[in-house]
Subunit: 385 residues, 3 copies
């Protein structure tokens, strides 16, 4: 099968995917300048998945989300609304919270340095002795705010002053995966990883199974690599699914389901593992029997923190025998993840070479190519090769 | 009380302190370029406190003082004079001393590489075989010299080729604190710290007590934070004092004196703790019963080494019972220092945020503002906000 | 003795060595920009010693050679030829080998990511599914090649696309040291070091004995420092010899031979220790009774990896008693090396000083000066001091 522009279009492609698909030039993985540009134009401008709503159930509960040099407090206020604030006191720039999560018990956010106090919604409540100061208006000194978007129990943030509407940006996701009743699910387990590679490499890796036969023999057995189908090929939400060969199968050490089907999942979805990137930092994989997601945090041009979470229905989590069985899914994905991280890190190393200018994607790598195009579009760059 | 330009002038202010006092832009704490400019225009041009005279009592005794990329040997010569030399052999640039301190026993400074030998005063004494070389004049190859200034038992150095006169630069200090007879005092204890923050943050922190109620409950009990008075507000020497509430009190765990009054200290000084910055690297605190000083060494844009010393009269140091009691002052300041370092480091983190442009000092923070002005003046920068 | 241009010429000097020999400006040891220029114009363009032929005896045997950001696979193919390939898959830029050495057992080089397979000579053998792709020609996707040069059992590589001919560049070496029958010798021992200094400092250190009396009292006893003679003074191969005072002496703890003379070594060579730099990364020292060489790998502007090897004839290595005696040479050189590394690292530290502009070589340092000239020539720089 030769891939042509026409064939891609049949699958609802937004991009004009040519037969010749070069990879990004090596500088996109090595250059501190391009990385700084990505921070500005991608991480500080696009919608980022911050946490699950369940992580901040009560008023005052917060998580702190690092975004490069920025740090964002995501906090539930007294009305039950979720807010996002830059974690910086307006007085002299002190970082207010150093804990990764917690609760503002007193219902106020207090800077530890000079005790300026802010409401949970960010307004400056009290600044000792500043009332004596001429021209000082508390209304001008609230915490800088970030934007919040909610979908499927996920909390997204956007650091831009005037971001693209959440509903427009994530449109392909809204209405999707209704059968999983995502908001009702809870975090059953979390695996934490640090990878020595650029953030784009993990997205590319997630979005093709060309590497599966060699890198993931077990995965390739449960979901043969030629069975990948894509239905979103462009924009923020990109992905598709792979087909399980085994009846009531799933991604576990023995290939059998790890848990009952999630909520209303039925029909074809019982035989599918979905893989969606929500550009730039969420990788979402609804399985028949659980939901897996990766939250990517870029910590430098060649460094990622990745927290891989497993979602289950609380009824399953309450059942000790079922949770014991569920370990097989955790074990499978931990094994598979580590196989991926190894090649991702080798790709980062290889791309140091000045002799390597650009590579060439093959027919099964149209989604990584689409991701690269999204990167270029976000940066406003043209390809020169 | 509203602070106005006029009020400040009553206290002998040199600077034109406006009602609106913005903090330095975040770049002054994060930018490698500005830091390099500070090295050149501040650390390599201003008078730096290097050590106490007592640390090099005999001919040949030396300490090595790091100043960013530079390393300075401070050494007492055979005439008893103190000299400062760049720690670099003129032959091929080898660092001569790697020890932090010691004694040149042979009365000469010998480079370990090719054995070029220098007099303690820096003159090249012998360079094997170089006498055979045409046009080689030993007089041209002495160690590069730095300048020395002495006050109160402190040894200051200046790396500039043609520095401002020591007596002019430190004029407000000369004649001050005579009652403590500083040259007679000796180092009783030293606390060593490393802080992950910019050097200016520790100076600012030292020069205001707006943070004391929240950060230092014990300190704020012995010296209430509203009791700060400044008498030097501008230039190299900036500071004032706080008033002890307790009769014969001091900064100790129980608020009572740690030792007898120092030498001739009497009257108001028995109830005062003085806090002076000697820009850019000495923080000097004469207490009624001891003298505390911090020697700051900037090791990078976001890293400081700080050695905190306690000075006492030798008679007190000879008395074991008194030294046991004196532990209470050491314990108090170690506790207080660590409280400060925590908020200093949080300020450094917060200032990474690109969203935070500049903050605003309050009425109790006029001295930090004056310090910032001194920084700008030294750099030759204008405020743009 | 005054050194003059004329005298130097008598010893076959290519360079015009003046009486006044300044050292390189400090920037050549500190600047990341100059270091990047050195990578491009020296490490990626000159002939580098990679390994000994004995390290890859069989088809498929390989070593991986890091050269700054580049990584080169040196591998013996099925015809017995030695090949050098950039360690980068042409598909997406993955580093293929992470092991330092090993054997491609299957006789093919397989990328671990998407299983593209290359012949040992670098040609692309198979790329799964790429045959389906229009305009994809396997001939265009072989591994990028580096050049190979062989001399004396040493394997050299050159990363340039069109390098200077190996035989021209190393001409002064070819025909030299025939009596040692270098190709027949084998690695008897290896000492590994990491040094915190610029790569040029270790070459300079190796090429003068002005430092020997102070730094190496034992070495200076066996080979008095005034007994150095140079016969190649300029270009890629620079060096000479020192004279052993003791009959049947060598560089060992007791100054006596560590082994029988190597192969056909006789006459004057029984009393000489040769020291040659093969610019920029091989230091070669034929002794009467063994051969010592250092392979230098620059890992950054102020960091070197140095592997110091001892070569012996296999007959000596098969004799346990002789190998026990040989420990004395290993012990001697490990001691001597560490003495050198210490002063090399102190020179790197001293050269941080901005006050030190340039130094001045003495009459025994004409070879380091010639090395510096070779650096400047390679960079295309003119001296400004």
């Amino acid at each position: 099968m030769k891939h042509t522009k026409g064939q891609f279009k049949k699958r609802g492609v937004d991009y004009d995917v040519p037969t010749y698909m070069p990879t990004l030039p090596r500088e996109y993985y090595q250059s501190e300048d391009i990385y700084a540009e990505e921070a500005e134009k991608i991480f500080w401008r696009r919608w980022l998945m911050a946490c699950r709503e369940e992580e901040i159930p009560q008023a005052g509960d917060f998580v702190v989300v690092p975004v490069g040099d920025e740090s964002i407090i995501v906090v539930r206020d007294k009305t039950g609304e979720i807010n996002a604030h830059f974690n910086v006191c307006r007085h002299r720039g002190t970082r207010i919270c150093v804990a990764e999560s917690g609760c503002f018990d007193a219902g106020v956010i207090t800077c530890p340095y000079h005790a300026w106090r802010y409401e949970l919604d960010g307004r400056l409540k009290a600044a000792p002795m500043m009332t004596e100061v001429e021209d000082f208006d508390k209304a001008d000194f609230g915490l800088h705010g970030a934007h919040i978007g909610l979908w499927g129990g996920f909390v997204f943030i956007n650091l831009a002053e005037d971001p693209v509407a959440f509903e427009d940006e994530l449109a392909p996701l809204i209405g999707k995966f209704e059968d999983w009743r995502l908001p009702e699910l809870r975090i059953a387990h979390k695996l934490e990883y640090t990878l020595e590679c650029n953030w784009k490499i993990i997205l590319q890796n997630y979005q093709e199974c060309y590497h599966c036969p060699g890198v993931h023999p077990l995965l390739a057995k449960w979901t043969p690599f030629r069975g990948a189908e894509h239905d979103c090929l462009g924009g923020t939400v990109i992905g598709g699914y792979m087909t399980l060969t085994e009846e009531r199968g799933s991604m576990t050490m023995d290939g059998k389901a790890a848990a009952p089907p999630v909520c209303d999942v039925s029909g074809d979805d019982l035989q599918r593992v979905h893989y969606y990137s929500v550009f730039p930092n969420l990788l979402l994989s609804p399985h028949p029997d659980f939901v897996l997601y990766h939250r990517i945090r870029s910590e430098g041009v060649d460094r990622i923190r990745n927290d891989c979470h497993f979602l289950l229905h609380p009824d399953v989590m309450a059942d000790a025998a079922r949770m014991e069985r569920f370990q097989s899914a955790i074990e499978f994905w931990d094994l598979t993840n580590r196989q991926d991280w190894k090649v991702c890190e080798q790709m980062q190393l290889g791309l140091k070479s000045h002799r390597f200018k650009t590579g060439r994607y093959g027919p099964m790598e149209d989604v990584p190519y689409a991701l690269d195009q999204e990167v270029l579009r976000a940066l406003g760059h043209e390809r020169t090769t």
